[in-house]
Symmetry: C2
Subunit: 620 residues, 2 copies
């Protein structure tokens, strides 16, 4: 599939945008006119730059407010259009995007639109260029892609065709089946955008909230299926107006965009019957990857080794051993939970989740898929006789490893830590309930698409809850088999109240147990510092759930928080934070669906006080 | 007027919120329940803390999903309510806010609502508390304040009244005249919120985008007039859910909030007939302040003195003189434009607009008004015989001075610089067209209210335009007589691309002239470095306006940008930036209404390249 991207999706100068698109692997770009207008480089220089980078210049856009006007105005518009045709010749661009008139049109008459577009087509012939007419969703008289196509049909000029833009089609709720009725030779261009479902005026939605395919709520796969059936063989181009993309690092945005197209191409491949493949779009599938069967290991990196392993011990973990060649690594185990701790020494390095290993049926295919999806490969040094863990970096820098299956359920690499793998330590902690990772807000959608496309995780519930310094947004990603649950959180950005707000939004590992009281009791005996739960909270729990007094006392005694839904109950406690990381222990009773979001504000307030008091030098 | 604020408006812990509300000057607060739930302080401690700070605890809120349920559910709800009554007794709070049911209500029957609320009232009697029933805009069966009042009337219990919340009333477009029909003794509480006009679902609008009175688009003055006529004499409280407030510095938000109430009180005073004043609300007006007659002076602070005064000279300014006691200050004049330059020495201090003086008819009243509006007063050291300039700090730290009128139009303070005030230097530059100040986005609304309330400026057009690293939002504030125009800009925040994005978004001073070509020619002779305008821009101007060749060549020769509307033309050029400040020179022909926003992307792209090249060590 030929890929393209509009320069308006990317930040920086036009030269920087071209470089980023080429580096990400796009085949071509659309030149957004204003990017050229503000550029110090001439049209000829841009043409040469693109050629040097191996990029085709697929479209010049947009040309606005052309048709449906009186003759005098039309002459001025033709003058303007001719200047752009001249510019396109200098750029070597064949096609211009002409949007349906939103502003100056005064005459609602299809015959007039047809006449004026035909005259534009005649002018285009003179300059050897083509016009792709597009119905904007808020076009004054033309806002439906079928209407635009009807006009193009009536124009009946080889230089005039249509441009299909999924935002303009799907934001209006138009049914995409009709795409199949458009002859391929009249589809001059295709622009893709996804968008979250928002209730707002379409213009604002379009200008600020478009996202890459797979990051929103539009059914783009269905659109692509219909498009494939037309026989269209041109580029599939991204045109995304997004406030975050405009200010994000350009190379990263370009890679995110290309990933979205590769993922969509793969989805479209699987949605089409085999007989129709690869279609004129020349679709290629990605290597298939099955959902993970579980979490193989979690790796923590820390400059506070003593405190980290003390907490692990307090939670019931035992030291498995130290890595035989990488002296800084040790593994702690309990049941099937394996936590690798990397000692950064007394460097002040923060305590973070550094890596995650997933039980993956076919690691080689998973890594190949990840590479095609433009994830950066990890190249860890290793000895000859050590396991070759295949991994890639997540967008936020966390390392993801695809661990292969082991016949007895215990991974081979444990041997490198001197662990006799057949001596599994049973424990009260039985697994990892979920892992919570903080994401910068600008890259939240990117992270969701990443885990969807690479790891076959699915977006589940989304929550939002207050902290003392702002709202926290949370997206649950889970494998369909429920073996892996990731919580991606966006902490408040740009605050004025210090560390808690910025890089240090605390991440956490939630451990599962069937007997939280026993885990808590043992932890208390071993001296664990629980995150304190305020008395007011228990008053409120009692008001809401009318618990019996003994049970309430048990909660209080063990700093346990509580929630209940129609399916079951959720009991949990938190440890104090190690700067940026803490642990949670969770007992689910019945089929409780949440993950403690109701109680998150209590936690965040306590953590805020912890950070604030530490800043003021008050011992916590 | 008694003022109150809901703790949910403010960031931090409950204790921090109370402190900020008291410091700002509020009379009382509403306790948002969750703030208490997550607090380590007991109800009794909070009660004591508020008393120590001189704050009344005016409301406990919210209680949700109470009425319209089956009896079994109702018993559970009563249990929950009773627990909260008990808590209110401990807090010493008389009134609870009970919102109309949005979730659990299953029976749409006013008689049932009345019965269940009456039983709640009977329970309230037992605890000596009161219930303020409020129609939420998205209430399942009750979403209209008149409906809520009808139910309260039918309940006919002294412990049950209504709460009026302007967001819930005005977001639905309900007409506020009917407020007058509610007897004062049944209005148990009043909550105010303003909001910008947005097309989105009401719940999201409410939860994220409320703003303080005067910062949005609601007609709150009209509401207050109707409220005054009821005879209501309770507190007027702010309940604002706003994502920015949640993370802003709490003291600043509290002051912004109190300012909004004082401004609203003053507006309401002026909207009511004299015979109805001060009303049961006990309204007080602010000292009146007339719109400014012009800009007396602008003050630049710089660590790059040589470059700054070179540019001033290149633009035609002459050195007036040095201040006789403050050696670091010099004044440059041209016509009626006076620019004071404060030399910070080679300290690396940025070049910024440090102060603005406005021609103000009554400086003493202006400062008194500003103080009542909680602006911080400037206390500049001065000698006995020097002008006593009255001033306050704007929210972003810029100093604003209220200069008194001088009979001959030339200010007295010029004498301190050794300027013979009767020897005004005529010049090609005739005045200040506008001043552009950058604002952090979290405080944009605060700044708009500040200039509205203190300086009698009015919000005019709002624009948004792209830069290479994100969208810039711009709000024009102007005096009705057009003597003063401020442009407040929010540059993209939180970017990943260096300085340009962050503090250093460049501000500027736009000077007016009647002959821009002469100004540009002289500046060129004197060696001014113009911000370069790309050739592509002129191609586009030519395509859009079909200018004659001579005129176009004049634009090119002098780096002039051009715009045109139905009323007139706008010609302008920019200087290169002094780090964070630059100058623009503007010639308006006819009644052109804009300020060059169409060309701003060209400028921003050039400035971006300037900054980027400087970072890379490329001489600009």
């Amino acid at each position: 599939m030929r890929t393209s991207v509009a320069t308006v999706c990317l930040s920086g100068t036009l030269a920087e945008k071209l470089r980023a698109a080429a580096d990400a692997g796009f085949d071509g770009v659309e030149i957004f006119e204003q990017d050229l207008t503000v550029s110090p480089h001439s049209a000829e220089q841009i043409r040469q730059r693109a050629a040097d980078l191996g990029l085709t210049l697929d479209l010049f856009q947009p040309f606005r407010d052309f048709e449906g006007v009186k003759e005098e105005q039309f002459q001025a518009n033709l003058h303007r259009l001719e200047a752009k045709f001249h510019l396109m010749n200098r750029l070597g661009i064949e096609t211009i995007l002409l949007c349906s008139n939103v502003g100056t049109a005064t005459i609602n008459d299809d015959a007039l639109f047809v006449d004026q577009l035909r005259r534009a087509g005649e002018l285009a012939e003179h300059y050897d260029v083509k016009i792709a007419y597009e119905a904007l969703a808020w076009g004054k008289f033309v806002n439906d892609f079928e209407h635009a196509h009807d006009i193009v049909t009536a124009v009946d000029h080889p230089r005039v065709g249509t441009c299909l833009d999924t935002f303009h089609i799907l934001s209006r709720g138009w049914v995409t089946d009709a795409v199949e009725n458009i002859p391929a030779e009249k589809i001059f261009f295709v622009q893709l955008a996804d968008a979250p479902k928002l209730s707002m005026d379409i213009l604002s939605w379009s200008r600020h909230h478009r996202v890459f395919p797979g990051e929103g709520d539009f059914d783009l796969v269905k659109f692509m299926v219909h498009l494939a059936r037309t026989g269209y063989d041109g580029p599939i181009s991204l045109e995304i107006f997004n406030d975050s993309f405009r200010k994000a690092e350009v190379g990263r945005t370009a890679i995110d965009g290309l990933r979205s197209l590769r993922w969509l191409e793969d989805q479209t491949w699987h949605a089409l019957p085999e007989a129709e493949l690869p279609s004129a779009l020349d679709l290629r599938p990605l290597p298939e990857v099955a959902e993970p069967a579980g979490i193989d290991f979690l790796e923590i990196s820390t400059g506070r080794l003593g405190e980290t392993i003390r907490i692990l011990h307090q939670l019931g973990f035992r030291l498995g051993g130290h890595h035989r060649s990488k002296q800084d690594y040790q593994v702690w185990t309990q049941g099937d939970v394996r936590i690798v701790v990397c000692d950064r020494g007394p460097t002040g390095a923060p305590t973070t989740i550094n890596a995650m290993g997933f039980d993956t049926p076919d690691p080689e295919a998973a890594r190949e898929r990840a590479q095609l999806l433009r994830a950066r490969t990890i190249d860890r040094t290793r000895e000859e006789d050590e396991a070759d863990l295949k991994g890639v970096y997540a967008p936020d820098g966390v390392e993801l490893f695809f661990s292969g299956p082991s016949p007895d359920g215990v991974p081979e690499w444990l041997v490198e830590f001197g662990v006799d793998k057949h001596e599994a330590v049973p424990g009260l902690v039985t697994g990892v309930d979920h892992v919570n990772l903080a994401q910068p807000w600008q890259h939240f959608d990117e992270a969701v698409l990443f885990y969807t496309a690479l790891m076959a995780l699915e977006s589940d519930r989304e929550d939002e809850f207050p902290s003392p310094i702002g709202l926290v947004r949370n997206q649950v990603m889970r494998s369909p088999n429920d073996a892996v649950r990731l919580l991606l959180s966006v902490a408040p950005e740009d605050g004025e109240q210090g560390d808690f707000l910025n890089a240090a939004y605390p991440e956490h590992i939630a451990l599962a147990t069937d007997d939280i009281v026993a885990v808590a009791r043992r932890a208390k005996q071993r001296g664990l510092e629980f995150l304190p739960v305020p008395e007011n909270y228990f008053d409120d729990v009692q008001a809401r759930f009318a618990l019996d007094d003994d049970f309430l006392q048990t909660l209080k005694d063990h700093n346990l928080l509580y929630d209940r839904d129609a399916q079951g109950e959720y009991l949990h406690f938190y440890t104090r934070t190690l700067g940026t990381l803490f642990f949670e222990v969770v007992e689910r009773r019945g089929g409780f669906e949440g993950w403690g979001e109701t109680n998150a504000p209590v936690r965040l307030a306590a953590q805020y006080r912890e950070v604030r008091d530490a800043e003021r030098g008050i011992p916590s």
